[in-house]
């Protein structure tokens, strides 16, 4: 148990940090490594204080993402519980083989005789001025990769709880944070029991439209829902939280009530995970659907650096509101 007083209000990045402290304390077999995470405390400060407290179990690495993830796997197979940080989700691309062909296969191919209890933390998405090599939202890739668990915490509470759940898991888990969420504050109850993995959450109830979203788009969607409410449109917002395991039941139940579905993510629309949600809806909830299913996401372009262009590309409450209005517009159909 940590001795510090339990703050009730934490910034997202502090929640991540608290979860890491908890993990290194709870699991003597845990290790944390990544670029600039130990002595400098992490490029975004997520790992602050860990090295001071846990010494050699927390260390800096060369700029070698394939080695980082591969070493995490090898160490996990030999009884460690590694937690690695990949600075930007975009950089996972240089380590993709280790994720796709190594980490994800370990348990399956050995029938569980080898396991890979490791956590890959990263952050993704755009920020003003970030270039095309630092702005990807690629959760759909990993969700298409059996053997991995995928979580995208949308608030400080989940940043803390989902990361703890990830680290406690006996499976490899990827946690995608969003750097624009790092400064956001919210209530976090520290040191409670670790939650089971999975579970979508209804973050606003409504009876007209089901809006399914995750990560930073949860707050944008809530803003849009608020604006829609002023127009009399009752939007139910579902924070999907985990893409794997996927809790579609919450979506289905909501759709049964609303008959209308909008899916929102920051990722490019084509091939984004929104397609999967739409596909499940049109299979499992077909008879509940009263209107076409709409997706809101970045159009199919690399993310430009200029904020003027980014505004045009990144979904926001405006584009979400438009989709809500469109899906509810009976005259359109």
């Amino acid at each position: 148990m940590r001795e510090e007083p339990q703050p009730s209000e934490l910034r997202y990045i502090q929640a991540v940090n608290a979860a890491l402290h908890w993990a290194l304390e709870t699991y003597p077999e845990s290790l944390a490594f990544g670029e600039d995470i130990a002595l400098p405390g992490g490029p975004f400060g997520a790992t602050k204080g860990l090295h001071d407290k846990f010494g050699g179990r927390v260390f800096d690495t060369p700029i070698s993402e394939a080695a980082i993830i591969g070493a995490a796997l090898g160490a996990a197979m030999r009884g460690r519980r590694p937690i690695v940080e990949i600075m930007y989700g975009d950089f996972l691309a240089v380590a993709m083989d280790q994720i796709l062909n190594q980490v994800a296969n370990t348990r399956y191919v050995s029938r569980g005789r080898w396991t890979a209890p490791l956590t890959i933390r990263t952050q993704q998405g755009y920020s003003p001025g970030s270039c095309a090599q630092h702005s990807h939202s690629l959760e759909a890739w990993y969700a298409h990769c059996p053997g991995l668990r995928i979580g995208l915490p949308a608030n400080p509470r989940d940043a803390y709880e989902m990361l703890r759940t990830a680290i406690a898991s006996e499976d490899p888990v990827m946690i995608f944070e969003h750097r624009l969420l790092y400064p956001i504050s919210g209530p976090v109850a520290l040191d409670g029991p670790v939650e089971a993995m999975g579970g979508a959450r209804i973050v606003r109830t409504g009876s007209d439209v089901t809006l399914v979203t995750w990560s930073r788009m949860v707050s944008e969607s809530l803003e849009a829902a608020e604006l829609a409410a002023a127009r009399g449109q009752k939007v139910e917002v579902v924070d999907l939280r985990w893409l794997s395991p996927l809790d579609f039941s919450v979506v289905a139940a909501s759709l049964h009530k609303t008959g209308h579905l909008v899916i929102v993510h920051e990722a490019n629309v084509t091939g984004g995970f929104g397609a999967e949600i739409a596909a499940r809806a049109v299979r499992d909830c077909f008879w509940d659907l009263d209107a076409p299913v709409l997706r809101v996401g970045a159009p199919d372009v690399p993310i430009p650096a200029s904020p003027q262009l980014q505004t045009e590309v990144i979904p926001d409450r405006g584009t979400i509101l438009e989709a809500i209005t469109t899906v509810l517009d009976e005259r359109r159909w």
Binding site: P62, A67, R78, R80, V109, E170
Partner: protein, 317 residues
């Protein structure tokens, strides 16, 4: 200095050869599906190296890793069964020839992505820094793997943290169908080690004793906290890159002359020079091995195929 008897070396190497020869037959008869990659001619490397290891150590190999599995003590029956796609105690047929592993033998597995075993083996070595096991991690890679980015990253990673890792580079002169000599500008390959600040050494990979000595030195160094080292073992493939390789890219006479240098021929030559009964003893070993192989095949055949409906098991905990 290692000095296994001629018979012991012959038995250990011959076992792998006999196993793989039988695999090729089984493949020809359709009992083993997919491509298989034989270590025919390279067996002395795995044999010598594994003699330098302890049970607590970790072993990682490539798709050409049957010899490592056998030298590590993985039962032949299990290997045959795995390769046949049967419900073997190794991986239940899910891994097959190029990707099998055995958790009970510290055999982290083969890997069919070139170079990818190295980061993983570095991770196994990393674990040893924390678990008090004193275990060393050993990894076999091919000559071609030196050109892979992940291999490079792992070599540096291992050097930086002084990991107890031994890299055995099996230089069989070819990467698939392309001579390694045309794909690097260095010679010997072990000179690459200095780029990471680790010792590198080139040895005769067709001599199990020489391999044992070199690997034992590297293992001891690793175990005592001296960090990683690279042992390049020179060898030759007696067969194709994989089961379907016609080897048209190999110059005329190359394979034939390799047969004069390969470990079993050498041991028979030594035997001939030693005493005139030795050759007979080796012949008896051959017979003994073929009995062992046949009973393993028979046992493997008695294992069932994976039970229908189980293909979705073990994706997650």
């Amino acid at each position: 200095m290692a000095a296994a008897s001629i018979e012991d070396n012959y038995r250990a190497i011959g076992l792998i050869r006999a196993f793989e020869d039988r695999c090729m037959e089984l493949k020809g008869e359709g009992e083993i599906p997919g491509s298989i990659h034989l270590c025919s001619g390279q067996e002395a490397i795995a044999v010598g190296a594994c003699r330098a290891l302890e049970a607590r150590d970790a072993v990682t190999a490539t798709y050409r890793g049957h010899g490592w599995a056998i030298a590590r003590g993985v039962p032949l029956t299990d290997l045959f069964a795995e390769m046949m796609g049967r419900d073997s105690p190794l991986c239940g047929g899910r891994a097959g020839s190029p990707y099998l592993s055995s958790a009970t033998h510290g055999f982290l597995g083969e890997n069919s992505i070139v170079g990818a075993g190295l980061p993983l083996a570095a991770g196994a070595a990393l674990a040893s820094l924390y678990d008090g096991s004193g275990a060393v991690s050993i990894v076999s890679i091919g000559d071609g793997a030196l050109s892979q980015g992940a291999a490079h990253e792992a070599l540096n990673f291992a050097a930086v943290y002084v990991l107890p890792l031994v890299i055995v580079l099996e230089n069989n002169r070819y990467s698939e169908m392309t001579p390694i000599a045309s794909m690097v500008r260095i010679d010997p390959l072990s000179s690459r080690a200095s780029a990471y600040g680790m010792p590198g050494l080139t040895i005769d990979g067709n001599d199990a004793d020489a391999v044992e000595d070199a690997v034992a030195t590297a293992v001891e160094r690793a175990r005592l906290g001296g960090g990683p080292s690279l042992v390049e073992a020179l060898t030759e493939r007696l067969v194709g890159h994989y089961s379907g390789d016609a080897q048209q890219y190999r110059p005329a006479g190359e394979v034939a002359s390799a047969f004069e240098r390969e470990p079993l021929t050498r041991l028979r030559n030594s035997a001939r020079e030693t005493d005139h009964e030795m050759l007979e003893r080796l012949d008896r070993i051959d017979q003994e091995l073929s009995r062992i192989i046949e009973s393993a095949v028979a046992e493997a055949r008695s294992l069932s195929y994976p039970v229908a409906g189980t293909s979705a098991d073990h994706v997650y905990a």
